[in-house]
């Protein structure tokens, strides 16, 4: 059995999405910006897809949802355009982000820091959440942009985007949110929230890879990152990814249709999974369940290094993830675990399970059995639970 519980990394493409995209490879392959029939037959499907994407985040038609190649591009675009507009010109020089943003935000902010921009990295609290008041405390008259993710990829923690948006509006500071982990998991509405820019990515909600989008509120449009043939209203040049856009549109429609299911049934399945996992002694989760996206669990098994756990899961066909030591190339412990101030000896033990609407009860039951077996085996190997003779001074604690 192959079980995919790494849906915060990427998702299976919904078969309906795939069907919808298929004609645009071999049959309707025209460039939408040509004049002939091959172009015009793509226009209606593109328009329909765009309407679905707009509807998915409740964006009014006067605003712009510009299709990009990925969320990383969208995030880079916001930061680099703000830099060009405000920092180079000397108008403002300060950006506020959280310390647990996606690398495409953190790395871009660090890049701009090297170019002379000031960046504040807001810490999360013990529940793994950014407190909105903190944003207020750090905004100055030099602050050009606040960028706080809607939901965190590691813990699933949902951040107070509404309050932060209100504070930014009150202080007249631009507000961007990376909503990659929120679409299809929690209601996303740019009209009832004060959001100026919003990033999304199709492959996180059962769409294809290689398509993302950036929402820009009317009057807050950014200068382009990619210059060229003036596609996407001149905001983002490059031949339209017709199949990708069509796929993203369908994926968005499916995600919105399935939102209730995700928030009830998948949440229930996740909660059951989590409750059963927590019955294993010495296990810990981070953010309270009600403050998380309905599909995510970040859980620590004391005494078991994260990669070892992934290894045993993988042997049984189960895919999960860890940002902690050894599993990733940079060998650093899970940044969220560090940020929430988890006990130091748990920093390398976090495992993330992320479900989707395709996850079944059967898969969860099978996974539970495998996890229990793996915990027994790996704690059997672990020095954390090992015998020491009387009077042995353990050298393992203080290091």
């Amino acid at each position: 059995m192959k079980i995919y519980l790494d849906n915060n990394a990427t998702t299976i493409v919904d078969p309906y999405v795939f069907d919808e995209m298929e004609p645009f490879f071999v049959q309707k392959y025209g460039n939408p910006n040509s004049l002939h029939y091959f172009a015009s037959e793509t226009h209606a499907p593109l328009k329909e897809a765009m309407q679905k994407i707009y509807a998915g985040i409740h964006a009014p038609e006067e605003d712009s949802v510009v299709i990009t190649s990925c969320a990383t591009e969208s995030n880079n675009w916001v930061f680099k355009s703000i830099y060009n507009e405000y920092v180079i010109t000397g108008k403002k020089n300060h950006i506020i982000i959280s310390e647990v943003e996606h690398p495409s935000i953190i790395a871009t902010a660090k890049y701009l820091e090297n170019l002379g921009c000031n960046v504040t990295y807001l810490p999360i609290n013990h529940e793994g959440i950014i407190e909105a008041d903190m944003v207020r405390d750090y905004i100055t008259d030099k602050t050009a942009l606040v960028s706080i993710m809607w939901a965190n990829n590691e813990t699933g923690a949902i951040f107070p985007v509404q309050e932060i948006g209100d504070i930014c509006a009150e202080k007249d500071v631009l507000f961007h949110t990376d909503a990659v982990q929120a679409i299809g998991k929690t209601p996303v509405d740019v009209q009832s929230f004060n959001v100026d820019y919003l990033t999304m990515s199709a492959h996180k909600f059962h769409g294809p890879k290689g398509v993302g989008a950036l929402y820009m509120k009317k009057g807050k449009e950014l200068t382009p990152l990619l210059h060229g043939g003036s596609q996407m209203g001149g905001y983002r040049s490059g031949t339209l990814n017709v199949a990708g856009i069509v796929g993203m549109g369908k994926a968005m429609e499916q995600a919105i249709d399935a939102l209730d299911f995700e928030m009830s049934d998948i949440r229930e399945l996740r909660d059951h999974f989590e409750e059963e996992l927590l019955k294993i002694p010495d296990t810990f989760v981070v953010t309270p369940r009600e403050k998380r996206t309905p599909n995510t669990i970040l859980i620590s098994f004391r005494g078991i290094e994260g990669e070892s756990m992934l290894w045993d899961l993988n042997r049984s066909g189960i895919a999960a993830s860890t940002g902690s030591a050894c599993a990733s190339e940079d060998l650093e412990s899970n940044p969220v675990m560090e940020a929430i101030g988890a006990e130091a000896d748990l920093a390398h033990t976090a495992i993330r399970f992320s479900l989707s609407r395709y996850t079944t009860e059967e898969e969860i039951e099978f996974t539970l059995a495998v996890v229990k077996e793996a915990v027994d085996r790996l704690r059997g190997i672990s020095s954390s639970y090992a015998y020491a003779p009387e009077g042995h001074e353990s050298g393992l604690e203080a290091h």
Partner: protein, 323 residues
């Protein structure tokens, strides 16, 4: 860089079959109790290294025959990833049957080599080499405990890159001999910095006392101070303050580099006879040789050219006087 680095890959695919097998079924995993050691007539040694908070920890158990110092039994327990567990297992295996003194000579490189499927293919990807270092360190700790000595007494030299076991003295020597200026060059020459990369600069997996960038900076500073010494004693120092010998050498060099060729082309040459200070002026007495002697221009154009070059290169107060 290049194609291989563009897509990346899963590090698990780079584990040798031996590493994979040991992770799945560690052979030397376990404990030795006081009672078990007693039954063997052995002394129990339990040594710890690493910490869960750092991502790797190992506890090594030895039953050592006090009469022969031989390790009769060797077991481990480990908190860590697959390569940490496989390295610990291999380390425990390598210890068994050796005397404590022999065991101390086992290095992380021996551990890594023992896990290879074939001699030329590394058992683990570069960033996993540090796991085998832990296996090496815990042996020394166990030996120190057995002998009742300080762990430092086993360190023959100061190691900067533990993964590749490159010492401070080796690095200093290689950097100077080959005039290295970048970390990449150091890695090419010594393999230091090729693995977990902690030793390159602060901020890696482990904190170090000395980083490769420090050694490069040290060499850079040394070069600058050497250059300063050289200029204080040589060509760039004020010409007027040079000794006579230095002045003649300096003028000779300018003549060789900038003037002689011009004269030789016309079948002539020149030599320096003397240099004398005359008030603020520095008079350089020369003699034309070959075609130059008797040439009309030797008292006008050619002379002015020689004088101007020497003025520009050495001192504005130079006068050139042909004899």
């Amino acid at each position: 860089m290049g194609m291989d680095s563009l897509i990346g890959g899963t590090i698990w695919d780079e584990y040798s079959q031996k590493v994979t097998d040991l992770m799945n079924n560690p052979k030397n995993m376990g404990e030795i109790t006081e009672d078990q050691a007693k039954t063997m007539g052995a002394k129990l040694i339990v040594a710890d290294f690493g910490a869960e908070s750092c991502g790797d920890a190992v506890r090594l158990y030895w039953a050592v025959d006090p009469k022969t110092d031989r390790i009769l039994e060797s077991k481990f327990k480990s908190f860590g990833c697959g390569t940490a567990i496989a390295s610990s297992d291999t380390m425990a295996e390598l210890c068994r049957g050796k005397t404590v003194d022999e065991a101390v000579k086992i290095t992380n490189i021996d551990v890594e080599h023992a896990m290879r499927d074939n001699p030329d293919t590394p058992a683990v990807p570069p960033q996993k080499m540090h796991c085998s270092v832990m296996a090496y360190d815990v042996i020394k700790k166990a030996a120190a405990q057995y002998k009742g000595v300080d762990i430092e007494s086993f360190e023959q030299e100061f190691i900067v890159c533990e993964c590749a076991r490159v010492s401070l003295s080796t690095l200093r020597e290689v950097i100077r001999l080959n005039e290295l200026t970048t970390v990449e060059q150091i890695t090419d020459y010594t393999k230091a910095g090729a693995f977990c990369k902690s030793c390159i600069r602060p901020g890696g997996h482990e904190e170090k006392d000395i980083y490769l960038v420090d050694l490069l900076e040290e060499y850079e500073k040394e070069k600058i101070s050497k250059a300063a010494d050289a200029s204080a004693s040589g060509a760039d120092a004020s010409f007027a303050e040079m000794t006579l010998v230095q002045k003649i050498k300096a003028v000779d060099k300018v003549v060789d580099d900038n003037i002689r060729q011009m004269l030789v082309m016309d079948g002539g040459d020149m030599e320096i006879l003397d240099i004398k200070e005359n008030g603020v002026n520095i008079d350089i007495y020369i003699r034309y040789l070959g075609a130059c002697s008797g040439c009309a221009s030797s008292a006008t154009g050619t002379l002015f050219a020689i004088e101007n070059i020497l003025k520009e290169k050495l001192d504005q107060n130079i006068r050139v006087l042909p004899i």
